[in-house]
Symmetry: C2
Subunit: 453 residues, 2 copies
C-alpha cells in the first residue's frame, strides 16, 4: 500500500495486516525496540514503523542502513493520535551504501545543491518540489477553467524577441571542426541557418490570441544572463497568457486573479508542505499568503512611485529619478510602503519594450506586479495594435523591421486591443515557498558557469 492511502483510509485498515514499500528516512534503535520512519513520497508525511525483539531477525533489522529501500509487513495501529505500523517482517529491497552523502542530520542547502540527484529525498525538498508540482497544476487549472487555450510555443527560433545578446545559439556543427577549418558554413547546420533558443513566447502567443482570444503558454525559456544572483537562472519556466479584446486594466485584473487562485490552490493542496516551510524557511509564510489572497493589490503609476521614492530621505544606492529604472531596493521599499502587492503602471516608454502600446504622454500601457520580499514577478502590457505606430517605434529604435514582418502583419490582418503578461514561475514559487535562492526551487538548476547532472 502507498503511505498516502494508509493515511487516507487508515480506519479501514486498523488492526489489519498491510505491506508498505518505501525508504528509510530515520532509524532510531533501542535495546529491545526500534523505530523506522518510512517515506514513499506519495504524501508529505512519513509512516512510523515499530519493531521489537519478538522478531527473530531483530538484530539484522537494527543494522539496516539509513536510506535503504525496504518492504515492511505489519499490523496498522494507532498510538497517541498517530498511526504506526507494528512490523511482523522487515525486508531490505535495496541497501544503501555507507558512502551515501545524505545523512540523518541537517545539511546546508549549498551541500545539497551539489547532490541535486539525491536532495529530493530530504524533507525540505520533498516539500519544495511537491509545491512546485501543485502550483504547476494550479496554473493549468486556472487557465483551462477560464477558457484559455494552452499553446506549446517553439523553443527553437530564428528571430529574437527581446533577447539581444542574451540568446543561446543551437547548432549541430562540431565547434572543433569550425576552429580547425577556420570557416563557418551554415549549410552544414541542421536548420541551415543561425537558430537560437527562445527567450519569450509572447509573439507566438499573440498569433494564437488573435485566433482563440485567450491563450497561455507554460514552458521553459532560456537567457544567457551572466547575473549571478539568487534570482537568475539560465533556464527557467515561464507562463505567458495573452488575451485579445483586452486592455491593461483587465489584464491586471486577470494577473491579480491568477496569483490569488494559485496561492489558494497551494494552501489547499500542499498545506502540510507549506506549514513545514513556514516553520523552517520563512516564519509567517502562511500568514503572508493568506493576507495576499485577501488584499486588494494597489495600482500606482511609475510617476507616483518615483515621487514617493524621492520624498524619502534615504541613502539609496541608485538615486530614484523620473526616467530611470526602479531598482530592487526601490521595489522593496514600495511594497513595504503600501503593505501589499503593487502594480507599477504606465512606465516611460524608454524603459520598456518596443511592442507596448504608446500613450500620448510618452508612457506605455504597461505594469509590473511587485510582490513583497521578492520584487517584480509578473510583467504585463497592452500591446501596440496599430501597424504604423509599431513600425515607427521599431524604426526609432533602429530595429531590423524585416525580421519582424509577420509580427507586424498581425496589425494588418484583423488587429484588436490585446494585452498579456509573463510570470517567472520560479519567482512565483519563491514567494509561495519562502525559499530565498532560485537554485533551490528548480530540480536541476542551470546558472552561469554551472550545468551539473
Amino acid at each position: 500500500m502507498e503511505i498516502k492511502e494508509i493515511y487516507d483510509l487508515y480506519k479501514d485498515y486498523l488492526d489489519k495486516e498491510i505491506v508498505v514499500k518505501g525508504w528509510i528516512r530515520k532509524h532510531r534503535k533501542q535495546k529491545e525496540i526500534g523505530f523506522i520512519d518510512i517515506s514513499d513520497g506519495t504524501c508529505f508525511k512519513k509512516l512510523q514503523v515499530v519493531y521489537d525483539k519478538d522478531l527473530s531477525d531483530f538484530d539484522i533489522i537494527q543494522k539496516i542502513h539509513f536510506g535503504s529501500a525496504v518492504e515492511v509487513k505489519g499490523i496498522l495501529q494507532t498510538k497517541e493520535d498517530a498511526i504506526e505500523l507494528k512490523a511482523t517482517e522487515v525486508k531490505v529491497i535495496g541497501d544503501c551504501a555507507e558512502d551515501y552523502p545524505i545523512q540523518p542530520k541537517k545539511h546546508t542547502k549549498e551541500f545539497l545543491r551539489e547532490q541535486a540527484y539525491l536532495r529530493p529525498r530530504t524533507t525540505l525538498f520533498q516539500a519544495v518540489f511537491r509545491v512546485r508540482s501543485v502550483v504547476s497544476m494550479a496554473i493549468h487549472e486556472y487557465f483551462q477553467s477560464h477558457g484559455f487555450i494552452y499553446l506549446h510555443a517553439p523553443i527553437f527560433t530564428a528571430s529574437d524577441c527581446e533577447g539581444a545578446g542574451e540568446m543561446f545559439q543551437v547548432t549541430t556543427q562540431e565547434l572543433d571542426k569550425i576552429a580547425k577549418d577556420g570557416k563557418l558554413d551554415y549549410s552544414d547546420d541542421f536548420f541551415k541557418k543561425k537558430v537560437g533558443l527562445s527567450v519569450s513566447t509572447q509573439f507566438e502567443a499573440e498569433t494564437f490570441a488573435q485566433s482563440f482570444s485567450k491563450v497561455y503558454t507554460f514552458g521553459p525559456t532560456f537567457r544567457a544572463d551572466h547575473s549571478n544572483t539568487p534570482y537568475h537562472a539560465a533556464e527557467f519556466w515561464q507562463i505567458e497568457p495573452e488575451v485579445a479584446f483586452c486592455d491593461l486594466a483587465r489584464i491586471m485584473d486577470i494577473a491579480e486573479d491568477v496569483l490569488k487562485f494559485v496561492i489558494k490552490y497551494a494552501l489547499e493542496h500542499a498545506k502540510e508542505e507549506l506549514e513545514y516551510l513556514d516553520e523552517y524557511e520563512e516564519k509567517g509564510l502562511i500568514e503572508k499568503l493568506e493576507t495576499t489572497i485577501k488584499q486588494e493589490f494597489k495600482r500606482v503609476t511609475y510617476k507616483e512611485c518615483i515621487e514617493i521614492l524621492q520624498k524619502e530621505e534615504i541613502e539609496w544606492e541608485f538615486k530614484p529619478a523620473y526616467g530611470a529604472d526602479i531598482a530592487k531596493e526601490h521595489e522593496k521599499y514600495l511594497t513595504e510602503y503600501f503593505g501589499c502587492p503593487i502594480f507599477i503602471t504606465m512606465w516611460k516608454k524608454e524603459l520598456k519594450s518596443f511592442y507596448m502600446k504608446q500613450m500620448d504622454d510618452g508612457t506605455v500601457a504597461s505594469a509590473d506586479l511587485e510582490l513583497p520580499g521578492i520584487g517584480e514577478t509578473f510583467g504585463m502590457s497592452q500591446r501596440e495594435d496599430d501597424y504604423e505606430k509599431l513600425l515607427d517605434r521599431m524604426k526609432e529604435l533602429d530595429m531590423k523591421t524585416e525580421d519582424y514582418e509577420w509580427y507586424l502583419k498581425l496589425r494588418k490582418y484583423g488587429t484588436c486591443e490585446r494585452s498579456g503578461f509573463g510570470i517567472g514561475f520560479e519567482r512565483l514559487l519563491m514567494y509561495i515557498t519562502g525559499i530565498k535562492n532560485i537554485r533551490d526551487v528548480i530540480p536541476y538548476p542551470r546558472t552561469y558557469g554551472s550545468c551539473e547532472y
Copy 2:
C-alpha cells in the same frame, strides 16, 4: 460577451441586446441582407450575425473585409434550432488588408504551413490546437489525480542519455569568431563546457521516482534527427512517467490506463472538434477512439511477433527476422492482425537501450505500445535496478561509465524495482485527431532544414 458564453447561456439572453467581438470567418452578401459568421475562438462554433437594409450603414457593412476584427451589437434570437444575432450595429475594430493570405476557400495544408502564424484562424487548426490544449490538460489531470509529482527536468544537459549524434549543442560563443580565431576555448562559453539539449528526461525522472515513487515529466525534447518523414520533428513534447516499486506488467497497465483516460477526456471536452476531424480528416475517427477505450490491449512478445510476421507470405520491404527490428510495415500489419493496440514485449536486448532490465534469456523487460495506423507511440521498460548488471552492460557497450556516475549510484543508494515510459505527445495527438503529418499538430513545427517564424 464571449461566443462560448452566448451558447452556454443563450436562454438568458434571448431577445436581449448583447455585444460581441470577434473575427469575420465568412461573409455572405445579398441585396437586402447579409450574413457574417463570427469567431472569437472561445468555442469551436461560430456565431451567425444577420444584418439588413434597416441599418443606415448597410452598404458600408457589406464592404467589411473577410478576416477583420469587428464589434457587433444586436438582439439574440433563435432561428430554426440555431441562434443568430440580429445586428443593430456593426463596427470594424481592425480591418483586414486585401493581401490577407487566408481566403474563404479551401487551402492546402502545405500552403497553410507556410502561413503558420495565421493558420490557427482556420476551422481545421481551430480544431487541432483546441484538441492539443485539451489533451495536454488530460495528461496533467490523469497524473495529478493519480498522485504523480510533476517534475520539470532540465533541458540543458552535460550528459547524453540516448542521443549519441542526435544532440543539439548550445553555445554562447560566436561561431564566426571561432572560425576566425581558428581555435576553440570553452572557458568563453556560458557553462564553461560542452552542453547540449536533453533528448530524454528519463534519468532525472528516475532520481525523482526514487524520492516520490510516482513522477512524470511533460516538456519539450530535442533530437537532431535528419529523417524527413511525417512522424519526425526536431522539437517535440514528451511525457515521461517513472514509477518506483513497479514492474513491467504494472507499467503497461498504467500506460493503457493513461491512453484510455486521455481519449475519453478528449471525447468529453472536444466533441465538436473531433466530429469535425472525423468528417474532414479521418472518416471513422470517433468510432476508432471509442473502440480503443473499450478494447483490452494485447500483450505479445517480440518473439511471437516475429513468428507471426514470418508465417505470412508477404513481400516485406524489410524481412522479419529474430534479432532484427520491427519496421513500420510490420507494426502496421501486427496492429491490423490483432485488431487493437498491442504491447510488443520482451525485446532482444541488442535492440534496446542499455538501462533496461536484463532477463536470463537475452531479452530485456521492455514494451512498445503500437497504435493502429500510427505505430509506436509509447516506449516503456522496467529499468535495470542492479548496480553490477547495469555497469557490466555499459562496459559491454563500451560506454564511458564515468559520465553516468550519478545514474549508476541510484542503484547503490536504496535501489528498487522501477519502470517508466515515454509518450511522444505529437504521435498521440496524431492518433486522436486523425492528422497525418506531425507538422500539422505542432503550432510552429521545427524539422530538418526548417525553422520558420
